[in-house]
């Protein structure tokens, strides 16, 4: 049971970051290859707030999210203002994540705060001590809240603006969508969610290390969104959970994992660029359909 809980927590933390990526990539059409950097920011900031300042869980998560979001604006503003090509933005995020990881590897302490450099930031408060709920329940709860909020966001006017930008930037601008503000908002939301995922990860382990947030995690996140599909929340949610759970459950598969990812990237791009669940919306119609007497009537 503990094993299943661990998988739930790990996939939950990834899921939060993937939801952020879904808003950024799946809805707004901006690719980020360095989203693990935002998770790292959240993990370290959450750790500092909880350990050094003794904040409670919820303010810690919100604080970590805000911090990461504000940093993301610092990268996003110059990048979007100069209308960088999409792949330049992706490379910039990669540079950001790598520079941050190397920086964290070499910072041993800031004032009294002992970040520990490559040894990692230790003795963080544990998730199960911070609340009265068991740790997996906290993660599931946070994920559900985040999923609901993200769903609200993408179905709102802001979300519509994001979709318009992904489909055709020039047309969106002509219709009066403020490109800079909408892209920054999407980046902010995605960095915020990734940071919450990172902070929860830190509180689960009670320990963080810069190597948790390397290129491999960024490819995990990107894989979840690319396989999950564009303009869909439920698709990336499913793939995010699968991507953590499958290698954990089938340990012999784990060594082939990145080879399979790699080939799947190519196959998805060549044969099904909209992803496995592209354009599939989250709804509860299938639940009501289960209750109908005649399932066929719900199919139209």
């Amino acid at each position: 049971m503990g094993y299943l809980q661990a998988i739930t927590i790990l996939s939950g933390c990834n899921l939060l970051a993937v939801m952020g990526m879904a808003v950024l990539t799946g809805y707004t059409g901006l690719f980020s290859i360095g989203h693990a950097g935002f998770m790292a920011l959240g993990a370290y900031m959450g750790g500092i707030l909880a350990k050094e300042l003794g904040w409670h869980l919820v303010p810690c998560l919100l604080g970590a999210g805000m911090f990461s979001g504000i940093i993301s604006l610092g990268i996003g503003y110059p990048a979007f203002r100069s209308r960088l090509r999409g792949d330049y933005f992706a490379i910039a995020t990669l540079g950001f994540a790598e520079a941050l990881r190397l920086l964290l590897n070499n910072i041993h302490s800031i004032g009294k705060i002992r970040l520990g450099g490559a040894y990692g930031y230790m003795d963080l408060p544990l998730l199960k001590d911070m609340t009265f709920l068991p740790d997996w329940a906290v993660v599931v709860l946070v994920c559900l809240i985040a999923l609901w909020v993200t769903h609200m966001f993408v179905t709102s006017q802001y979300g519509m603006n994001c979709i318009a930008i992904r489909q055709d930037e020039a047309a969106a601008q002509m219709m009066g969508v403020d490109l800079l503000r909408t892209k920054l908002l999407a980046l902010f939301v995605s960095a915020f969610l990734a940071a919450i995922g990172g902070a929860l990860l830190a509180f689960y382990f009670g320990y963080i290390n810069p190597s948790f947030f390397g290129i491999q995690r960024s490819s995990d996140l990107l894989a979840a969104v690319v396989f999950g599909g564009i303009q869909s929340l439920i698709g990336p949610t499913i793939t995010a959970i699968l991507i953590v759970a499958v290698p954990q459950l089938l340990l012999t598969f784990a060594i082939y994992r990145f080879i399979v990812y790699g080939l799947l990237f190519v196959v998805v791009m060549v044969f099904r660029p909209e992803g496995l669940f592209g354009y599939v919306q989250m709804n509860s119609r299938w639940i009501t359909r289960l209750w109908r007497r005649n399932p066929a009537s719900g199919m139209e």
Binding site: E98, N106, M269
Partner: protein, 293 residues
């Protein structure tokens, strides 16, 4: 400031810049024609190095034969990747980012397959250490010198190919406007195969040098990120820019490692990348890279 130490650093910087420039030119070439960043370069380079390494270690072939085998196999891989993973996307007129993702996938698959086969160990080419040459007060490693000379020769050959042959001019024309070029009777598929043959050769040569200079290991391809940074400094899509950018990056990096600390070397490169992207996205010699309508 110690003048001799500075000169020494300059020479080391240029020699690492020479290896970067081979890779950066490869990035720039693909970018100039197809407008996407060929992330699979990393994989090509590691593949080429391991093939050369295996030819020497397992088959006990002489060096020149191993180099030829490595180049041929890498070219075969590069062209196969082009026809299976990039061309279908191009024909469908998919967004450039899709090609980038596809290339990342190819890269992940190649590097991890090699990791599975060879393991993550650091290996060395079975060469004895060559005596460095002393020029005045500075020493130059012979390997560095060979790398510089051969890189320069490869770049000159490439320049000759691009500007003096029909196919090379076809590539240059395609880099201006691929559609018009094909209307003018330039065979698009021949251009694609030529471009990816060149990138195969460049990545294999660069990989062999890098492997001989340092070590052979599956994640050695991470230096291609440096080459990408170099080509962005020079202006993506510009071949002379890629060479200049590589030299600048190589020298600056060595100076940072020498005068500040080698732990900050990579961080400096990435920070430099971000500063370049944010404030001078067109690089030193690049065309305007703003998104056009």
């Amino acid at each position: 400031m110690d003048w001799e130490l500075f000169q020494q650093q300059l020479v080391s910087g240029i020699s690492i810049g020479a290896i970067y420039s081979l890779l950066a030119v490869g990035y720039a070439l693909v970018y100039s024609v197809y407008n996407f960043t060929n992330w699979a370069f990393d994989g090509f380079m590691v593949f080429g190095t391991f093939m050369g390494f295996s030819a020497i270690i397992s088959l006990a072939l002489p060096l020149w034969l191993a180099v030829i085998i490595s180049i041929c196999l890498t070219v075969a891989l590069s062209v196969t990747v082009e026809t299976t993973s990039y061309r279908p996307l191009r024909l469908r007129k998919a967004p450039r980012l899709f090609m980038m993702i596809s290339a990342m996938g190819v890269n992940l698959a190649i590097v991890n397959t090699l990791n599975l086969i060879y393991g993550g160990l650091f290996r060395r080419f079975p060469f004895e250490d060559l005596e460095p040459i002393f020029l005045g007060g500075i020493s130059i490693g012979r390997m560095d010198l060979i790398a510089m000379v051969i890189s320069a020769a490869v770049l000159v050959l490439l320049w000759g190919f691009l500007y003096r042959t029909k196919l090379g001019l076809g590539i240059l024309a395609s880099s201006v406007d691929i559609l018009t070029a094909s209307l003018m009777g330039i065979n698009n598929n021949a251009v694609a195969i030529a471009v990816f043959t060149i990138t195969g050769v460049l990545s294999s040569v660069a990989g062999l040098f890098f492997g001989m200079k340092y070590a052979v290991y599956p994640t050695m391809g991470s230096i291609t990120i440096k080459a990408m940074i170099a080509s962005i400094i020079g202006g993506l899509g510009s071949l002379p820019g890629a060479v200049i950018g590589s030299m600048i990056l190589g020298v600056l990096e060595t100076l940072v490692a020498g005068y500040i600390s080698s732990t900050y070397r990579d961080m400096f490169s990435f920070a430099f990348l971000i500063v370049m992207l944010l404030f001078l996205p067109n690089g030193i010699m690049g065309k305007s890279m703003e998104e056009k309508l």
